[in-house]
Symmetry: C2
Subunit: 442 residues, 2 copies
């Protein structure tokens, strides 16, 4: 028998965890998402467990709406810290774990992003990652001088050019440009410093960066890679993709599709890691796991729970919570509601059960079971070419991280699926990725 | 005799120090400005000495030009880290010292700045400061889709509105908005969360921030406050001003002018601290101090030294370095060169002496002397209403910081001019400033 495929593991740390009622858990500190010591505990704990990276998703505004009225004040998706500053602080109190922060190409300038992430890569000695997003909400547009968000095609066209500019700026200084020759007084070799002089449709950027080439060559690039243009950006440039399919079949199709696009950019299949998100409820028995799930779901007040259905299905507060999900009468709502309706019909869900399914992992994939159940599932995905690893989105933090380490990690290691030591000091080395060549290097 | 006025002290940490040849000093590590451990040493050392703040000036591009050709490769003003990420990392390894980073209002959006500095204020538990600048170089414009920098009036008009938007966003959450009431499931009091809905000439920003009110109420605002519009922004909003006058008389005029503007904004004279920059060469004897100055100046190669005169006087490389500074023939150059020419005539300086004067402290004020000389000068400025403190711009780092602490600080303390313990955990408390009221608070 050949040795099993090694998986990559990331920890998503946003808010107080991915369950809508995380902050009400008896063991949760509801103020934790505003406290550095909370994140320091998470990052240091994840590092002690040898996870590849911690990750912060992001939106640049309050996306949660007060729909139905009264829901917003119940949501903990309202208070947090800012990812780049937070991960920079964490760089100083960790030494091996990767630090991946999100930034939008729609509401930033490439020079800032190239410079800040290069700096983070130096501060962390080679552990920075940039999760490239294009943003989608009007709430964000309205914080940046617009009334509505940019349309899809324009966002992705801008994103594609943005990423190329950032990569170009990261090549400003060749590795051996600094000379530091005190005797002659020559600080650097000017023939190895490069002005980008980019002039494109969306950006005009001269360069160079005033930051030398970074420990990883360049930070790790991460993408969600959901839609067509996102898949192309990912295939061209991403090192890691946080994919979202919920079932094995769709995940296999997605995996084959994305990996199949790499060749045309001259890339190996293994040069991109696909790490779907997953929210785990784990117990020593299935009953214990289910209890954990039920405990949190009982803490989702209907006012909040209905808000998770509002955008697709409108206001359902007039219907009995424990009755069937109604067919919307408005045809526009009907089209948005298609996915949720199909799910509720397939699994015969009540309104309460439907919103609980979503509230349990902010709409992501949820697994409930014993360590064996969960690792069986992970192994099936990895061996079935559906995933190279997983982005853990724990329901409550730090509790569910501690449980993962106590219960699931030993099972993963018993099967030889996860490391017991880091391969090296950089995120790139731990992901098994090759350093990029500087475009100007001879 | 009344007790002496207490001074505020900041440490400017940019590059390897403020001397053009800092990196060539026998004790300097020329790679230090790219290394986190260097800055950690500086911040922790400054904190052990109870300094108020560390500070990073900034430009978003390579401002240094290769004029005359061959100069650029000799300049250490070419490699650094990015201030916000660096100070965020330092927040994690310090506990009392203020952390002041520069950001431009010309090439940023107010929502990003408000959010990132609010986050830094939480990460540091109340030690963040924002140095507000408008940027002035074409090098920066060309990194942000422009050919030339914005004109003066437009930059300052934008800056004024920018600062008001940022202050507005910092009031998004009233202090007591979070409730965290697990029993009722109410996370926060929605009547205490505020949308800014700003619509001005330069910005349209809805808000709110997703970061709760910060430990300092809001971060400390710092300004250079040089020109007329800068003085007004400072008088309206700044807590600290890094002023630049070189002689006592001009500094007193500046001090009276700026402090005199506070009343019309309903502010007390003491609510704004004026901290001029100064580069110190200190020795146990005057001869020793002069030796330190001469040692570094001897390391400024003419190619680099002449670059400090180039922008105002053109290329002087055809003239003898140890001869008089020539009168420019081109009338446009003559007008730019006026200040430098007057200085060279007044002090009877050669070309080499003129560029050395500038190269010693990147054009800022330079003092050379014994601890007694230096503290006499500081005391005269403070008692003569020319300064409330000083922003130290050491010629070589960390060397000149260590010397300041060993030689100058004991003399300041012997005269009762500087603290031996911090007043509190926040920068605001250490500067003796009152917390701002939230505009919405009842």
């Amino acid at each position: 028998m050949s040795s099993p495929k090694q998986i990559a593991l990331g920890l998503s740390m946003r808010y107080l965890g991915y369950h809508a009622a995380a902050w009400r858990h008896p063991l949760a500190n509801p103020d934790a998402a505003s406290r550095f010591d909370h994140y320091r505990y998470l990052a240091q704990t994840a590092e002690a467990a040898k996870l590849d990276m911690v990750f912060l998703a992001d939106g640049i505004g309050l996306r949660t709406k007060d729909e139905p009225a009264g829901a917003l004040r119940r949501s903990h998706q309202t208070l947090e810290l800012e990812p780049l500053t937070l991960l920079s602080a964490l760089a100083a109190v960790t030494s091996r774990i990767g630090l991946v922060a999100t930034a939008s190409t729609t509401y930033n300038e490439p020079f800032h992003i190239a410079r800040k992430w290069a700096s983070l890569d130096h501060l962390s000695r080679g552990r920075a990652g940039w999760n490239i997003v294009t943003s989608w909400s009007d709430a964000e547009a309205r914080n940046f001088n617009r009334d509505k968000h940019m349309d899809y095609d324009e966002r992705y066209e801008r994103a594609t050019e943005f990423v190329e500019v950032v990569k170009g700026l990261w090549d400003s200084w060749e590795e051996d440009a600094p000379l530091f020759d005190k005797a002659s007084g020559i600080f650097f070799d000017q023939s190895k410093l490069h002005w980008l002089n980019h002039e494109g449709k969306h950006f005009k950027v001269q360069g160079p960066l005033t930051i030398k080439r970074t420990p990883q060559g360049r930070p790790i690039l991460v993408q969600a890679g959901a839609a067509e243009q996102g898949l192309e950006i990912a295939a061209r440039s991403a090192d890691v993709v946080y994919a979202a399919p919920h079932d094995l079949g769709s995940a296999q199709v997605y995996y084959a599709n994305l990996k199949g696009r790499l060749a045309k950019y001259g890339r190996e299949r293994d040069s991109l890691k696909i790490m779907p998100g997953v929210t785990l409820f784990v117990g020593r028995t299935r009953a214990e796991a289910q209890e954990k799930y039920d405990l949190l779901n009982a803490l989702v007040e209907p006012e909040l729970g209905l808000s998770y259905l509002y955008a697709q299905m409108g206001d359902l507060s007039a219907y009995p919570l424990d009755g069937p999900v109604p067919e919307p009468t408005n045809p526009m709502v009907r089209s948005l509601a298609k996915g949720l309706l199909a799910m509720s019909r397939r699994d015969n869900l009540t309104i309460r059960q439907l919103y609980s399914t979503i509230a349990a992992g902010f709409g992501g994939r949820v697994l409930i079971g014993t360590p064996k159940d969960i690792v069986d599932d992970m192994q099936a995905w990895v061996e079935g070419d559906a995933a190279d690893g997983f982005n853990l989105c724990p329901p409550v933090l730090p509790l569910a991280l501690d449980e993962f380490i106590e219960l699931v990690l030993p099972e993963l290691r018993a099967r030889g699926m996860f490391r017991t030591e880091y391969a090296g000091p950089t995120l790139r080395e731990n992901l098994g990725l090759v350093p990029p060549r500087n475009r100007y290097a001879g």
